[in-house]
């Protein structure tokens, strides 16, 4: 393998795919740095597979370009692209044994002696000794690893993985996530990993792109996206968020003033995506703390009063629902560290948070209604 330069980045420029009148991928632009582990995260049907297929050349875009470094590969046939895919359905060749499945790409490029390479690749995915079996004789997890080996052996510039862990049970899934990350670090190939599992995306990827209805909603490092989501959709697709309907009322020093349900709050300007106008004030449930009186709220924290309506014990933490005076339900996670006594439903509490953990998002009329359906059920203060 030659040492890749940053000029080998994968770039999608204004990529669009329409099926009839339906737009599956909508003017998508992004750059995947060479050698990075990139996750494309989105709900089922948002256009992830279509995007991958356009990168692989299996689908011709309606508009836009696919670039590898400076090279425009948009019109290149799939077999001419230095890109390999691990298909959602594995698509192993049933008439060939595992050895020949893995050797397929090498043979098509006219490489004669493939035995050693295949053995090494089978060892990498921990399938030594399975070479003479047929795909139908392997379990789902083993087939998945064969599909991975079959693609990896070609040392493509970009490896595309389309929900490769979707068919596996939870334990094997976790195991394979670690495995995939290890392999990626070992071979240093660019991975574009498609998934609808936010936890998978966050644990594996260097960069996550959250996709919704054919568009990228936000792109960044997992922690970055989680801590400071750009839209209400992202705030609720990646974990949960309490979102209070609010009005931003301009800058005040380093802060942005916010009014929600008659109460004044503030958010650091660096965590506000707008200064004026309709907004959503967001706080993650694990950053929302419960105190049994206003006098117990730490200095600098902001707070709202409410009543505990539900407490569910989930082992590491207890998840509370708190109903505010204006009827919104807030969710708060309290770690079961043994410091505080559990709160019973009906208890009056004060929910408080450090404004440095809050975030302010623009509120568009339509956004509020759709986010609930697309992401996880919002637990925030939606009207």
């Amino acid at each position: 393998m030659t040492r890749e330069s940053p000029a080998d980045d994968l770039r999608l420029a204004d990529l669009t795919k329409r099926f009839g009148v339906f737009t599956a991928v909508d003017d998508l632009s992004l750059t995947v740095p060479q050698g990075s582990f990139f996750a494309l995260l989105g709900a089922s049907g948002c256009g992830k597979t279509t995007t991958l297929r356009m990168i692989a050349g299996l689908e011709q875009p309606t508009g836009g370009q696919v670039l590898l470094g400076d090279r425009d590969i948009t019109g290149l046939r799939p077999h001419k692209r230095p890109v390999n895919t691990v298909f959602q359905s594995y698509a192993l060749f049933p008439h060939l044994d595992i050895h020949e499945n893995v050797a397929f790409g090498l043979r098509r490029r006219g490489i004669r002696k493939v035995g050693d390479q295949v053995e090494r690749m089978l060892a990498l995915v921990q399938l030594q000794g399975y070479g003479r079996r047929r795909p139908a004789q392997l379990s789902g997890g083993q087939q998945q690893r064969v599909a991975l080996a079959r693609a990896l052996i070609n040392h493509p510039q970009v490896l595309l993985l389309d929900e490769p862990l979707g068919a596996l049970d939870l334990k094997l899934r976790r195991q394979m996530q670690v495995e995939l990350k290890r392999i990626q670090a070992e071979v240093g190939i660019t991975f574009v990993h498609v998934t609808h599992d936010q936890e998978e995306a966050m644990t594996m990827a260097d960069t996550v792109a959250v996709m919704n209805a054919g568009r990228i909603e936000q792109l960044g490092a997992p922690a970055e996206i989680y801590e400071y989501p750009a839209t209400a959709f992202v705030a609720n697709f990646l974990g949960q968020s309490n979102l209070l309907t609010a009005e931003a009322g301009g800058r005040a020093g380093d802060d942005v003033r916010v009014t929600a349900h008659g109460t004044r709050f503030s958010v650091p300007a660096g965590r506000a995506r707008l200064v004026d106008g309709p907004a959503l004030l967001g706080v993650r449930p694990e950053k929302l703390h419960l105190a049994d009186g206003v006098d117990r709220v730490p200095a600098g924290h902001q707070h709202v009063g409410g009543v505990v309506t539900d407490a569910s014990y989930v082992g590491v933490s207890t998840q509370y629902l708190v109903r505010t005076a204006w009827g919104a339900e807030l969710s708060a996670f309290a770690a079961n560290s043994g410091v505080a006594a559990p709160l019973a439903p009906g208890t009056a509490v004060t929910a408080h948070w450090d404004p440095r953990h809050a975030f302010l998002l623009p509120r568009a009329g339509a956004d509020e209604r759709t986010e609930g359906r697309l992401g996880q059920p919002p637990v925030g203060a939606l009207p």
Binding site: S89, H95, R108
Partner: protein, 302 residues
Amino acid sequence: MTALAHLPTSTRPPAPPPVRRGRHRLLPYLLLLPGAAWLLVFFALPLLQLAAASLYDPAGSLSTGYAMTWAVGNYPDAVQAYWPQFSRSFLYAGIALVIALLMGYPLAYAIAQKAGRWKHLLLVAVVAPMFTSFLVRTLAWKTILSDSGALVGLLRDVHLLGPDGRLLATPAAVVLGLTYNFLPFLVLPLYASLERLDPRLLEAASDLYASPLRAFARVTLPLSLPGLTAGTLLFFIPATGDYINAELLGTPNEYMVGNVIDSAFLVRLDYPQGAALSFLLMAAILAIVFVYLRKAGTEEVL
């Protein structure tokens, strides 16, 4: 209960305990009985009779009666007299098979993979000619190819045929008839194989650097091999033994072994020779099928 926990998970409830084991064991044989009896009476016994007839004294006749003299010489005599018709059978059937494959494979592929909602209509179109009699269809070809027909007229006009060139009564007409008549037997099994071909495998092949041609050779073709083998045999075997096409579309110069057997039994009334020729044809076809299946079998493993 611990033992139960190790049972393989199955969606079906466990089978009920076998009752009346004896009946269960006999059942497959009882089911075989009607078919076996049929085969015995209508296949094995006539075959034996035919084998015996092929060894009768060739000097006998239907009116004087035949004597069983173990006349093994009937076989070399038959070969010597009719080897041109014999080899012509295999030649014509072979050429027809090649043409049928060139037409039938793309046809079956298109119907199975590309036809979309027209699939069933096209399948019916393949089978539809068989709704009328084999004989009638071959006679129709006789009209189409006739010297005064539009086709010959056209070919003569564009000088693809000489001014008195003809289509009927030529080897080409016989091969064409064979190709036409047996094409559905090739297309249907091929279609069944190609219909099951997952197009995603072809996408995977192209993703793994296989050009369309290589993807065909390495994925489509091997996966359609069962249908190809069955279709080839279903085409070749009846085509080799056919005599209608040579009879209606050819002349005695195009006669195949089927015509000779036909005349031996029905015209010349030379039963020993007809029986010997029938047996030779059967042996030759069996040998070809055997070699072919062995070869096709190993290719599939590759």
